[in-house]
């Protein structure tokens, strides 16, 4: 509850700060302060269980250690994102304060989507996440690609929202006691009522849109590629894992009892997502676009949590959110500093900027899933959950085969960084500060720490 109120309030503070403070760098520091405070108030609630701000939500929100841990990861990663990339947010356009305000509103949506207990609040959360993103995507106003991406995103988003509403309507209609609460849906005895089944499929489709699972992923590469790179970083990490979290909570709490009836659908979607994401990423020449496809591929792995739907899967989802976001945000922060976004643009990075080269390598190794990185632990937990599930074992095998394929495109960047020589004398921008380097090292250190001691995150689930 802390997070919902605080993020919304700070969003408003940011908006006004843009009006009253003319300094261009001030919004950045206000945003970073707000983010740190947001992280702290959420951590306080996670630690003590008592919120600072309380309102009676009539059980429409459920706060427990699972979703508070998740929010702590989200806010921690956003803080990392702000610290690494806030200076690049300033460069996108005129309205710096508004950009930060929009991000805080997105976080408010994330907090809602992580704690909802009724379908209505799920809808509200997802929409509060989406609408500011349409604006952020198009914020590079003079760039046609950014405009195109924004429009595409808006249309696709609106379309999937429509489907979601339709699904919610079906479920509401199919419920004899006419309630939106996700744990009181009438699932029938043995066989799902038709209305509920239709609603379930519609919800599945719309949520797959939001997490860009195949075959509903077509918007992702263009939107991620067209949006200003700083915002791609935010969208492809924090927003994506938040949508995932909402997805998993919905299907666990609402339809967990009839898991076996929709599991086949998830199996198909997971396989398709892994296939499309990994195979297409192999052929990308631009690192930005490669990361867009890699985000689809990683989504495929996260979908295994829905396939398994047990305790290990929850732990895996938490670890995956942290590992994936930490590494991808770090990688994007480095990518923004490059002059050339193609893989060749990374040639010789290790020589010119050893810290950037080393940390980028650690991020990439983590995304590949090499032991001693957080990426390995998250993949490992997901695989444990899936094997424990005991069904469709071939999917688990397919997942690791695709993980091996993913090594191909991640290692191409590592090869460029370490083993190739630069084509030009200056390959990165000149505004790389020592603080930026230190922050990258801290991010990489966190990834290794989580790789050695995953418990430090997992234990909070049982706090």
């Amino acid at each position: 509850m802390n997070a919902i109120i605080f993020s919304a309030a700070w969003g408003i503070v940011m908006m006004f700060s843009a009006v009253f403070i003319k300094s261009k760098t001030a919004p950045k520091w206000i945003a970073i302060t707000g983010m740190a405070l947001l992280f702290i108030v959420n951590a306080l609630e996670l630690n003590s269980g008592v919120p600072l701000f309380f309102f009676n939500a009539q059980d429409m929100l459920r706060v427990n250690s699972f979703n508070l841990t998740f929010l702590a990861i989200v806010f921690g990663c956003t803080l990392q994102y702000f610290l690494l990339s806030a200076r690049d947010v300033e460069k996108v356009g005129e309205h710096v304060g508004e950009y930060f305000a929009l991000i805080f509103f997105v976080l408010c949506g994330v907090a809602l989507a992580a704690t909802y207990n009724t379908l209505l609040l799920l809808f509200l959360g997802i929409e509060i996440i989406s609408i500011p993103l349409y604006i952020l995507t198009g914020s590079d106003k003079r760039n046609l690609k950014s405009n195109e991406a924004s429009l595409k995103y808006l249309l696709m988003g609106a379309f999937s929202t429509g489907i979601m509403l339709m699904g919610i309507a079906f479920i509401y209609g199919g419920n004899p006691n006419a309630s939106f609460f996700i744990n009181s849906i009438n699932l029938g005895n043995g066989e799902l009522p038709v209305m509920i089944a239709v609603g379930l499929v519609l919800l599945l489709v719309s949520m797959s849109f939001k997490v860009s699972a195949a075959p509903f992923h077509f918007w992702t590469p263009d939107v991620y590629d067209g949006a200003p790179t700083v915002f791609t970083s935010f969208m492809s990490t924090i927003v994506k894992v938040a949508a995932f979290f909402a997805f998993v909570r919905l299907f666990e709490n609402a339809f967990g009892k009839v898991h076996d009836q929709w599991q086949t659908l998830i199996v198909i979607i997971t396989f398709a997502t892994l296939l499309v994401g990994n195979i297409t990423a192999v052929f990308q020449q631009s690192v930005k676009r490669m990361l867009a496809y890699s985000s689809i591929a990683q989504a495929g792995f996260m979908l295994l949590a829905l396939f398994a739907l047990n305790d290990k899967a929850k732990e895996g989802l938490i670890l995956y959110s942290a590992a994936y976001s930490l590494a991808t945000i770090g990688l994007f922060a480095i990518l923004i500093k490059m002059n050339d976004y193609t893989i060749e643009g990374f040639n010789g990075l290790a020589k010119q900027h050893p810290v950037l080269g080393l940390t980028a390598t650690i991020f990439l190794l983590s995304l590949t899933g090499i032991p001693l990185t957080a990426g390995f632990q998250s993949k490992f937990y997901m695989l444990m959950a899936s094997v424990q599930n005991g069904q469709s074992f071939w999917l688990v095998i397919a997942a690791v085969v695709f993980a091996a394929i993913s090594a191909y495109y991640y290692f191409r960047v590592i090869q460029a960084i370490y083993f190739k020589t630069a084509d030009t004398e200056v390959i990165a921008k000149t505004d790389i500060s020592p603080a930026f380097n230190v922050l990258l090292i801290i991010s990489a250190g966190l990834i290794i720490l989580l790789g050695v001691y995953p418990e430090i995150l997992v234990q909070w689930l049982y706090h």
Binding site: L365, G369, I370, P371, L372, F380, L383, M384, V387, Q388, V396, I397, V400, V401, A403, A404, A407, Y408, F411, Q415, Y418, F419, Y453, P454, E455, V458
Partner: protein, 497 residues
Amino acid sequence: MGSYITFPELFIWIPILAGIICFFLKGEKSPKIWAILSSLLVLAAAVTSLFYTDDTKYATYNNVNYYWMKEIGNSFFVGLDGTGRILGLLTAIAFPVIFISTQKNTYKNTSAFYGLMLLTQGGLMGVFVAMDALLFYFFWELALIPVYFLCSKWGGEKRIQATFKFFVYTFAGSLLMLIGIIYVYQHTPQRIFEDGTVSAHSFALNSFLNASLTMEEQNWLFWLFFVAFAIKMPVFPFHTWQPDTYDQSPTSVTMVLSGVMVKMGLFGVIRWLIPVFPGATLQFDSLVIILCIIGIIYASCLAIVQDNIKKLVAYSSIAHIGLMCAALFTTNEMGVQGAMIQLFSHGINIIGMWVVVDILERQTGVKNISQLGGVAQKAPVLTIFLVIIALANIALPLTNAFVGEFLMFSGLFQVNTWYAIAAGISIILAAVYTLRMIQKVFYGDVSPAAEVVTDISFSEKAALFVIVVLVFVLGVMPQPLIELTKKAVNTFLATVN
């Protein structure tokens, strides 16, 4: 749990710490010296550990168990048994020999090179002493990463593609093994830690040995593990990464790869494959042996037609490893004991071969047999060393390889006469390609490329001398090696039968 430090810990942490420190050393000389000194320290620890083999008295020196990820039933459990000891010893001998013999090679970024080499040693040691499946997997992968960087950074022209093929191959294999590990893990009994933590399942080796798996499960799990190990060894038809990688890697890395790293695959078979899936082993042993024999003959034939010396040695290595793998799957005492000894001997001999190849390549700049000739006139001492090592490589009596190969062939013979005969052809073929190589490179007229050859330096002599001494001593007196592994062989056989 003892409060003192144990041998397996020393084996792992000395190289890893030394490797990390090495990255920060400046200049060209100091990393080299640092690497040699720290690898000698590991060797000293390994030799000392030989005096504490009696597990009834010294169990606390050889085993240690720390809590690590105990919620999922894992721990940092490392221990030395016969197999681990002999391979640890091999690793401990191999690295100083490699460092000393390749001292003259210059590498850009010397400190990074030696740092990565030492990290590789730490990873390899970890593989050989890990007693928890997850820990084993960790080290298994960690040994690979520094090698990947070593080959890609300091290798030959086509290094990036070659090493990448190697990396993707082994990475895919190990991921399949990871699935296998997780599956077996789900079928292990509960584990209760000393501090009262209870986890539903366990990654400990003992629990893996007692996992309740049906015959059908064993049958497909066997292949998940086997593919990972077969890629590493490599066994036909998973060998295609190897010749290119050996050819393109800097020679000192090739020595690590062929001398020690391939043993990881064989070690995996001894420790994690056959004992965990004894039923499946009996089901598939003929199939695996036949694969190995095809590989032996195929690789030997390819070795005969090679013009590139490095590829020749690479193919000969495939043949030797294939024989060891086949011998392990005989699961009789002779075969397994032979393979155990050969694990050690082959490592020594192949490193010796590479040292010679490295000297030739460094001095002449060519690695094609057709361009070389008459080296013996220029470098008589080198030639003597080479001939001895080459004869050991083809397992002549009185050399170390003879004992192992003899036992392995007897083992194969007990299983099936035809296997022994088919595999035996490889001895003849080995003689053909090795002697042909010696003849063309070292005798005959001095070729233009060989004009520049001078005889070897003191450090190279010292390294080769150590190898030759080991070749002879263990050839005449193999008993210590047999004693060292006897117990391990017996426990291994007990799990299978």
